[in-house]
Symmetry: C2
Subunit: 392 residues, 2 copies
């Protein structure tokens, strides 16, 4: 199997850009990734484009990848549009990594892009609500935030975690986001400001929930062979990919009910690595407590220990295991289809020591990171979980 590395990454800032179209957002990220990789656009042999809701928010369904990439002059290659709710970006990246690892192509572009600010918030919320079985759940008002709130309440009761502790996730991520030039929200928050923001779904407040955003992130993946020929100077390797839809796994009679754990185990196995090998993480903090919950599933720390670590600063930029140095979904923002690629882009910058003011541990001894990107829910199944392990 060919080794696959990331030669370059690019972003369009996350936030509200009423004057920018899906094409504008995507083009900026793609051209920046190409520049960063120091490879010509013509080296790109295939492109995977992850987007979740453009058909419903902008009317551009179907061939959005082709529309965006034509805009930057990329044509005459296979372009594959991939959709997996909020995990569309990482799903596209995993497909691209498979293409390179298979040896069938050398260089592949991945673009994650989303346009959610279209002057009609209800329309955007309605689009987001299609990340479930619309026949059985779509009309029940069971927005994802409500599910996160129920889970938060359960965590509070089962583990004796306070809402103040949960708010600390938002505080930490707001501090990180304040140092990230592409972040949507750059104001550092306090426990008091987080808890006094308006309630979205009891006990979760506005600043504990990810918001809607426009944005894009891109990556150029290539084979080790090609990277050597092209003189790629800052390679970061994709070591392991785990993708999973749904909780049930009937193969070999095994059932793993925790799909995040299942996807992580697959990625760890693929990478021949484990939680102890990681130096930093980008995890899907769609709601503040999700971050710490995910750490348990990823084999990092059980929930109670996770919150103790949070309070002790373990996941801060200067901590033992920085989590969401980018600001995460809460502060960098969550333009759904872009998120999974942006997470990977953040790990790439951090491993290269190019993360500026939010550089973890001043770049010393940072060798490996992990991204967790999740999306959607069908009945009691998570719809898509993607875990990616990267290292120098």
């Amino acid at each position: 199997m060919a080794e696959c590395l990331i030669a370059g990454v690019g972003f369009h800032p996350f936030g509200k850009f009423p004057d920018r179209s899906l094409k504008d957002l995507g083009a900026v990220a793609v051209l920046e990734a190409v520049r960063d990789a120091e490879m010509p656009l013509a080296d790109i042999e295939t492109a995977y484009v992850g987007n979740s809701y453009a058909g419903l928010t902008t009317g551009q369904e179907s061939v959005r990848g082709q529309v965006i990439l034509r805009h930057v002059g990329l044509s005459g290659i296979p372009i594959i549009n991939v959709e997996n709710a909020c995990a569309s970006g990482a799903t596209a990246l995993h497909q691209a990594a498979m293409a390179v690892r298979s040896g069938m192509v050398d260089t592949v572009l991945v673009l994650g892009v989303e346009k959610l600010f279209v002057g009609d918030t209800k329309k955007s919320i309605r689009a987001l609500s299609t990340s479930t079985d619309v026949e059985t759940m779509g009309d029940r008002g069971m927005q994802f935030t409500a599910l996160y709130a129920m889970k938060a309440r359960e965590t509070m009761e089962t583990h004796g975690i306070s809402i103040q502790s949960m708010a600390r996730v938002a505080v930490k991520n707001s501090r990180n986001g304040s140092l990230n030039p592409i972040a949507q929200f750059r104001k550092p928050q306090t426990i008091a400001s987080v808890l006094s923001s308006r309630v979205i779904s009891e006990p979760l407040t506005l600043l504990m929930c990810s918001s809607i955003a426009d944005g894009a992130a891109a990556a150029i993946l290539t084979s080790k062979r090609k990277a050597r020929r092209a003189g790629v100077s800052k390679p970061v390797y994709i070591r392991g990919c785990g993708l999973r839809s749904g909780e049930y796994q009937r193969r070999d009679g095994l059932t793993e009910r925790n799909s995040v754990r299942a996807a992580a185990n697959k990625a760890y196995e693929d990478a021949a690595a484990g939680p102890d090998d990681l130096d930093l993480l980008e995890v899907h903090d769609a709601a503040a407590p999700s971050e710490i919950g995910h750490l348990e599933s990823l084999g990092i720390s059980p929930v109670e220990q996770g919150y103790r670590g949070l309070v002790a600063g373990r996941y801060d930029l200067e901590g033992e295991l920085p989590v969401n140095p980018s600001g995460g979904l809460l502060s960098r923002g969550h333009p759904t289809g872009a998120t999974g690629v942006a997470q990977v882009g953040e790990i790439v910058l951090q491993l290269r020591g190019e993360a500026g003011k939010r550089q973890v541990r001043n770049g010393h001894s940072i060798r490996a990171g992990l991204c967790l990107n999740t999306g959607g829910r069908v009945e009691d199944d998570r719809a898509a979980i993607a875990v990616t392990v990267l290292s120098l």
Copy 2:
């Protein structure tokens, strides 16, 4: 590279099914494919689902594959939703083939599914019109049929082809469709009936244009190694895949303006085969004259010779090179996302000698076939072209 074969195929009939949901359509095809493969559902390690417009026609955007497959009890595996306009099905199939050929998995499900009859034809037409750049072309009334009509007019003038000759494609395909139990239209037509049906876009009449449909098709792909262990009795191999978006190809300074030819050349190269090795074809006859135009791009026969062959019966079921034995898009029908998988399914049945009354050449000396599935248009670029070469 592992060899990839098709172990089983399944279909939901194409047509108008007002009482069947996207889930119903998909479930029927998947379960039939699993039965046909004689492999347990639990052997499926990954699934690719091709669908073009459900978000706009049914409201089920985003995680449609998960919603459908959960309905048949398939969960806990990676599910990847793929979109490439009318070529979504073949694009999904190519991704699945890559997964198997890479050696990373053995058994992969491909489902192509579409629900276009939703009680509001305008809504369906509007959904179809998103297979272009909606900002620049979406509002110009430039429906695909208008583009096909312009191309037909050009062919008539450049090559001296009569509209009667073009109508013969529809006549042939209606005869084939009349023998296909899954076909949407099963009434054999004559040149007179084709030409006297109402004009859609001069010179194309209703019976020379593909229509909207509901439907689904599925295939179980597996590795040769796994097939041997599982005792797969009727393997058909995927020998070559060529996927391309857009006419331009700037690599190595080469420019191939004909993207169908480019995709075909890639598939031929992949299969180490050429047009002369083919015994039958399923090609994307979205409009009647497209069929003969595509034969030129595929390297089968220049346009004028193509029409002479058509008149001489060369592409009939009993002819030297049967084309669209299924009835094609014109008669089997065109539930967009399902079409590419259904084309492959037809070739599989034909190569296995199981195509019933429409079996070409009574199944004698039929060893290899090709499918051409196309989708969308962005400016003057075709958005997706997928060519697949299959053989025993």
